[in-house]
């Protein structure tokens, strides 16, 4: 087969354009380096009227927002999903790992929840405290300067709280809680659960001249045309281009492998252009992997050579291992005091205005790590599914369920905005026995061997989910409410989400000082291949009870600074 080769020699080739890839693109291009960004999906700009879903009404679609074609509803801005036609993945030993991929410029940052939390010193060194998992080779003081820079560059609202495990940042001011969030605050207080303003990357106050300020439409999941929320394209890649960076953007380009020379050093990447389905080669001095924890692992494992028989930089055999996702469990309830509400616009920012960071001491509990609580509710825009079982709540107030006629209208209206719910998002323990690997029996439609997952939860995570449900029930009762359904039992893992479903998968190329027990060093540089770096969540040693994006961004910036320095010193 003839491979079409570019004559351009890039300083850096970045594989993937999400949080990590976007940050690397910005920092490296602004240092004057010539950069290629290779993205498997199409170009996307939330300002492009042809791609926008923000401010669309349900009736503009014949399916009214149903999730038939996009997993989080058809107005959600994730092109891809749990299953992508022609790009399967498989399971082993009864595993049920769910893998969410966004194939588009900016990746999953176009629809993510924007919950932007810093890891604390405890999060980096948790093994020292409880003997489980592994400590990171770096601590909070290594990452803090970069968290600070990310806060100021991108913007995150929140409040200074002085909590040891929830390090403060350079926050923009927080939006006021909505009504259901005020109910939550009171209900949580009765149980001793702390509530603080959320920390999320929407711009509630001007952070720079190129981005708009939040218009409180609650639609960050649709990606903001004013660039008032953090998406990798609008906040990192486009500004880097505008700053005159030498950036070549390759879209619809699916990287198959990293190419190497006789010394085992990376020489570039081999990709398939989805338009013409031909193979192309790009040459670069440095390769930065940012395809997502699992996609980067897949590409590296598929990059076999004489020097790297088990996949690129895999002498430890650990690429793909220690895969772990946040735990999750959710529960909802009905609050009679919120029936027959006065209707007003409370769209707010996309997602919650308040949340509860982890508040208990695990030494006194039967599970080792914590979780935080996310809250939903309110007078949201109706979409497909709104009004299903319109009066099932009747049962809770002693009335008949079902029926038909004009009364259904009244039922829908009186319950509108009277329900709320919680999502617990917790830390799981990374295990070598949970992994993704190459399935030797299957390829995708581009001929690239696919991933196979092996992942089992343990009682650490199950008991944590059980505790989440107990907490949620208690708080809903405190609010004078009725909980929906029964607490899921042992046979249902106490309501624990399947691994992958929280979309915080990390750990597949973990960081460490010992090349036998880790894949990259503390600068996210591969132990075995000095000119390959990984800036997605693959290098995460542990997950923390925090969402990973802010840490991906901070580490990607830190690694990019290191790459610039190493190139200057001609070390790589």
């Amino acid at each position: 087969m003839q491979i079409i080769e570019s004559s351009t020699m890039y300083d850096v080739i970045i594989v993937g354009s999400g949080a990590g890839g976007g940050m690397a693109t910005k920092v490296l291009s602004e240092a004057g380096l010539k950069v290629a960004v290779v993205e498997a999906g199409p170009f996307f700009d939330p300002k492009d009227p042809k791609q926008q879903t923000q401010f669309k009404w349900p009736y503009e679609s014949p399916r009214r927002g149903a999730s038939t074609v996009r997993d989080f509803g058809e107005f959600d801005m994730a092109l891809g999903g749990w299953n992508i036609e022609g790009e399967p993945y498989t399971q082993k030993n009864g595993s049920k790992f769910a893998w969410f991929r966004s194939r588009m410029l900016g990746g999953r940052t176009n629809h993510w929840g924007r919950i932007s939390l810093r890891f604390s010193e405890r999060d980096f060194k948790h093994r020292s405290l409880d003997g489980l998992g592994e400590d990171w080779p770096i601590g909070y003081s290594d990452v803090k300067p970069y968290y600070d820079r990310v806060d100021k560059l991108i913007g995150v609202f929140g409040s200074k709280e002085g909590l040891e495990n929830e390090p403060d940042g350079f926050f923009l001011p927080a939006p006021k809680p909505r009504l259901h969030e005020l109910y939550y605050m009171d209900g949580a207080k009765k149980s001793g659960v702390p509530v603080i303003p959320s920390r999320m990357s929407m711009v509630t106050k001007k952070v720079n001249k190129d981005r708009g300020i939040c218009v409180y439409c609650g639609q960050c999941g649709r990606s903001c045309q004013y660039y008032a929320d953090f998406s990798s394209g609008s906040c990192l890649i486009f500004p880097a281009q505008a700053n005159g960076g030498q950036i070549d953007l390759f879209v619809n380009s699916m990287v198959r492998e990293v190419t190497t020379n006789d010394e085992g050093k990376a020489t570039g990447v081999l990709y398939i252009n989805k338009e013409d389905r031909k193979e192309y080669r790009l040459k670069g001095k440095v390769v930065v992997m940012a395809a997502s924890a699992c996609s980067s692992a897949r590409i590296l494992l598929n990059s076999k050579s004489k020097q790297h028989p088990g996949g690129l930089g895999n002498s430890s055999g650990l690429i793909g291992k220690y895969l772990h996702d946040s735990t999750g469990a959710s529960r909802g309830g009905f609050i009679p005091a919120m029936m027959d509400r006065k209707i007003y616009n409370e769209d707010g920012v996309g997602g919650m205005h308040v949340y509860s960071p982890w508040w208990l001491d695990n030494k006194k509990l039967d599970f080792p790590r914590g979780y935080h609580i996310e809250v939903w509710g309110g007078l949201g825009m109706p979409n497909y599914g709104f009004g299903f079982n319109p009066n099932s709540i009747n049962e809770m107030i002693g009335e008949d369920v079902g029926g038909y006629g004009d009364g259904l209208r009244d039922d829908v209206k009186r319950y509108y905005g009277s329900t709320l719910g919680f999502g617990g998002r917790g830390e799981s323990i990374a295990l070598e026995s949970n992994y993704c690997e190459i399935d030797p029996t299957q390829v995708d439609e581009f001929g690239i061997p696919v991933l196979r997952f092996n992942y089992q939860w343990t009682d650490h995570e199950r008991y944590q989910a059980k505790h989440m449900h107990e907490t949620f029930e208690e708080i809903i009762h405190n609010m004078g409410g009725t909980v929906f359904g029964d607490a899921p039992g042992k046979d249902q893992d106490y309501g624990l989400n399947k691994p992958g479903e929280i979309i915080h998968e990390v750990g597949t190329t973990r960081m460490g000082n010992d090349p036998k027990r880790s894949v990259v060093n503390k600068f996210e540089q591969m132990h075995d291949v000095e000119n390959v770096f990984i800036v997605d969540a693959g290098p995460f040693v542990s997950q923390a009870d925090k969402n990973p994006t802010w840490t991906i961004l901070a580490l990607a910036w830190r690694t990019s600074d290191y790459i610039v320095e190493q190139l200057k010193q001609q070390n790589i």
């Binding site: 679609s61 200074k160 439409c217 390759f250």
Partner: protein, 235 residues
Amino acid sequence: MDRRKSIKSIILGGVAGGLAINGCKPGTDGDTGVLEEVAIDENHFGRTPEEKEQIAKLNAEQFFNEHQMSTLHVLCALILPANEKYGSATDAGVPDFIEFMAKDIPAYQTQLKGGLMWLDHTSNKEYNVEFKSATVAQQKVILDGIAFPDKEKPTYEQNFFSLMRNLTVTGYFTSKMGIEDLGYKGNTPNVWNGVPQDVLDKHGKSYPKDWESKFVDQSKRNIMAEWDDDMNLIT
């Protein structure tokens, strides 16, 4: 520097040239062209080319026949009839929505067609007339028998009616008329400055005093954020 222009020059597909991918059309002329195209495209809501194609394909198919459609018209208006202020679910276009959803989610198909057949069968047996042509009183007698599902073991007729009720209510409240009826006020750029005072009073809620300094001062939202070294916002 014009960012759009810069993007034009640097989006590449294959390196061999001639494969430039059209992300967004750069430049003023291009922008106007896009807006015009959007304006004349009724089905425009940020669809990818593949998604558009799929919608066009479903729209070209017909799932319910004429008799079934007219039965749906009668049934939807029974489930959500008109009142003094608003039209019925049928007036709000719900039968067409159900026609689309039956094609979009094929799992609904047998239950919907079978259920409509059951309505005719029952009406024929009881009143010697098809459901759509029975009197409203007769129609209601039939619906009364299936509209309150058994909690433990709902029958297939009850399941059919529950599905019809779900689709009718969701179709209505996601229509323009239904959203107006519901009173939803959002989906528009605005400034959130907290729960209205009368609502706070009614619910006996208030914002904690020690939280006031944490909240955004909307009169200063356009002033560039600056902090002191101690992470305090000073603007």
